[in-house]
Symmetry: C2
Subunit: 532 residues, 2 copies
């Protein structure tokens, strides 16, 4: 990563759109929606005035802390729709008072000690890609410190024999892969936020990654974790597997910065794939596609990719006609040819109504060539990677767009999908006078899919936040009422708390609160998140 | 299961050996060890006198509770070496005062309420197969109630679409499979204790099952859990996957009855395998064998079986000559032919020095025939299944034999194995004047194996417990000092507590204790286990 991060949008400053580009986008939206759309000018940091810092770090911390406007503005938000709207408006009402950039674990400890002494809210900050207000200071809270782990960005140790590496928590995805690559290894955890999210963030939020089946969450790649808490350091043993009590790591996974600050982890890595196989099958209907996905995953061939796009998404993101669903199946391996696997999976999908020419099944066994970079499969891949940037273009034009994701068992899925679509189409009609809604499966399990819905509608400029809130509320209500989880891999943060409360067992809440009090008795860490 | 359980040994009463059979075994041991070995007579329940019950259930619970000697003696112990030695001696110094057999969840709740009102220790009891004193009342404790879940033995619901089933926690392995079989499904969780262990016990202890790679522990098959605690019922949502906070189920998995009594769970089930492939490869050395196992698992073909026996175990349990290691690889599937998989795995193992004739690779694709039931592989399988019964024959003869199991990363493994063997051979020499030691891998991970050591030596009749304690102590010290886990799938119980304390992060202990206090403020449930 070269260059400074955009304080308001996705990516680096140098990737920010110009006002001219935003106006061109607005003109396209004008045409599409038949009304006059304009893009407000992008904010300039020199125009931003923040509340004066309410606390000052002690001299011993000055070298790695700052209260500069740029740093505080940048660390005010994650990168959700709501975040970018607020930021593009130059609205930073509740910034952290101080941003710390500890360069060592000792400096993390020192920062947290200061927070304890001065009773400051401590907010662990990885890449800042949260879409659930997970790195935002609590409203109405006291002084807060955003603890940015980005200086802890090294792969410290590689154990080639065990295929594991000790990695600092603040490393961003690309830098992590850059450090593993020379050794022939990869973590292969590629969330959509990959460029601007960190290992520690993935662990804290149970990030969902590259693999669409089997080991989908970062959870399964964690061998041990080291975490700084207000009561000291918590570190688990490196173990391939254990049955000694409940897993200590599984209490950290998903703790969203409420129990401590993850500083490093031993992660399971792997050889870089050289055997690859990929196929994109089309289906006459969404239903035929998801039945096929179910059959494929239940056969336990464990494809690396098994993503299903509904006809709307296959049209908008993969260039199909809009009346066919697309199932992308891919296998990869560092060691073993994958042709037998893809043929079995394609057979299953064809038997369920999928169409693909034999010549369109791409196999590059042993030649270490990328496959799945052309045609509909490749188009979808590009669309997936660039999606987070598109919001920089449209923020503030009145466009209201977001995604929500969940998981549900297969038996409930058809009715779940109908109910979600009914609720969301109704809400889009009510709030925006209509809009678009699409769905894909990001991950699939033997017992159910993880559907990911995208919606958008044209709202009124200046009213985007209220309109978004109504749509998000409708989506969350529908997900929880129909038996889903409020998040499969986007985390809870502040945005999902009301529904998370409904979802989780109340006694688990009590147990988790007690666990937090044991390691963070002052409640310094991310108050209001996970624990009400 | 037809017939009453043996109150002292493994299995049913009708499977108990006769005194004559035990004397024959003793005669064989006499010959083997060159000294006079006798087998004390097996205990008779009519000769057992227990401490008078220190509490009496209220009238409302009388229908499903008892203080009969048989029930109290049977529920005094699990089935570890130490347990069977004590039981065969008729020594039941600290029996539970009452055994409850709740027939409904409401009766579980009522039993636990009574325990709360009368301040009684509550001990959840599944199949009683614990080998770590996990179902034994605490020494010096007050009155205790063993809560036997065996009447909750039904598969309540099968969701064929999602391949999941709602199952009561008290069902034993065979009865569970019997209820799934007519629907074409199976859980395929086959710990060595399968005949006399329950679903709830597997979940509470993070049981390790059939699959040697990938989804090895019961953990991965749990979709949701329902548990009765002193503060009420804790039930998670049925979800194929979730990223909403730390997993509630993962806090229950491994909780060993300290947080509540599991009453039912939704489990991921699967189609019954009809495609099978199996191969047993021999290796010149233990080292060549474990390098091969590492390569096979790191290729991520995910064989159902990938068990490696060291030369001693391959000799004693699989009928080989005693100078070769044996790697058993097997694949199975309900849906997909497995020949391509076994061929890739065999290629990898051969490249690492493994020997097998092509004709010895058994593939029964689609014919639903069992494979791997003949030759060395079949011999080992029989030995595995019948092993728990052998202790009924030798208990009290002076023979000291036990197993311990762990996991360790591959980089440390060779030195770990050397150190464990050195420690155990030294201890066997010291304690028994020598003995036998062998090892197998029960499960293998990309980052390390789960080795399982078996040891035995001839001790002095009457001194078995002290001699066993010294050997167990040496094993546990060596495992922990060399970086392993005190248990991969046998649980912590009372026996492993000193080493579990060393292994786990102290702050995790604090968090777990706090979590327990939140759901069990009186500390009724399994006091002394997991939480010191």
């Amino acid at each position: 990563m070269t260059g400074r991060r955009s304080f308001w949008g996705w990516g680096l400053e140098k990737d920010e759109p110009t006002n001219e580009q935003r106006q061109e986008t607005a003109a396209r939206l004008s045409k599409r929606f038949g009304r006059d759309v304009t893009a407000p000018p992008i904010p300039r940091i020199e125009d931003v005035t923040l509340r004066a810092p309410r606390t000052t770090p002690p001299a011993s911390l000055r070298e790695f802390t700052t209260s500069e406007t740029y740093d505080r503005a940048w660390h005010s938000y994650g990168r959700s729709f709501r975040d970018v709207i607020r930021a593009v408006r130059g609205q930073f009402d509740n910034p952290p008072d101080v941003v710390a950039y500890p360069r060592t674990e000792a400096e993390v400890v020192a920062t947290l000690e200061w927070c304890g002494e001065a009773n400051l809210t401590a907010i662990p900050y990885g890449g800042g890609s949260s879409v659930v207000a997970g790195v935002e200071p609590p409203e109405g809270g006291g002084p807060s410190v955003s603890i940015d782990l980005s200086k802890l960005d090294q792969v410290l140790e590689i154990d080639a024999t065990s295929r594991a590496a000790r990695i600092q928590a603040g490393v961003l995805g690309p830098a992590l892969e850059d450090q593993l690559r020379p050794h022939g290894f990869t973590l292969r955890h590629f969330p959509q936020s990959f460029e601007f999210s960190t290992l520690g963030g993935w662990i804290a939020t149970r990030s969902g990654g590259h693999y669409a089946t089997n080991h989908t969450h970062i959870d399964d790649f964690v061998e041990s974790v080291r975490m700084v808490t207000p009561k000291g350091v918590w570190e688990s043993r490196r173990l391939p597997g254990s049955g000694a009590g409940p897993s200590p790591d599984r209490m950290i996974l998903g703790s969203e910065g409420t129990l401590g600050i993850i500083t490093e982890a031993w992660m399971r890595i792997q050889g870089r794939p050289v055997f690859r196989a990929s196929a994109g099958l089309t289906f006459d209907s969404w239903q035929a596609g998801y039945e096929a996905a179910r059959h494929v995953v239940q056969a336990k061939l464990w494809p690396a990719n098994c993503r299903l796009l509904d006809p709307v998404e296959a049209g908008s993101a993969a260039g199909l006609k809009g009346d066919e669903a697309l199932l992308i199946i891919a296998f990869e391996s560092a060691d073993v040819p994958q042709d037998a696997f893809i043929r079995e999976a394609v057979n299953i999908a064809r038997a369920a109504g999928g169409r693909i020419d034999d010549s369109a099944i791409k196999i590059s066994d042993g030649r270490n060539e990328e496959v799945g970079r052309e045609g509909a499969v490749g188009a979808w891949r590009n669309s997936f990677i660039t999606a987070p940037y598109s919001r920089n273009m449209t923020a503030g034009t009145g466009l209201v767009s977001d995604t929500f994701e969940t998981s549900i068992t297969w038996d409930r899925w058809p009715e779940f999908d109908r109910n979600i679509r009914e609720a969301m189409n109704g809400a889009l009609q009510r709030v925006c006078g209509g809009g678009s809604l699409s769905c894909r499966f990001t991950h699939v399990y033997t017992d159910g899919p993880a559907p990911y819905y995208s919606f958008s509608g044209m709202g009124r400029p200046g009213a985007e936040l209220e309109m978004w809130a109504e749509l998000k509320h409708a989506a969350s209500d529908a997900v929880i009422a129909n038996g889903g989880t409020i998040t499969h891999h986007h985390a809870v943060g502040r945005d999902h708390m009301p529904w998370y409360r409904e979802q989780r067992p109340p006694l688990f809440e009590a147990a988790l609160r007690a666990a937090k009090e044991a390691v963070d008795p002052q409640g310094l860490l991310n108050p209001g998140i996970l624990i009400g």
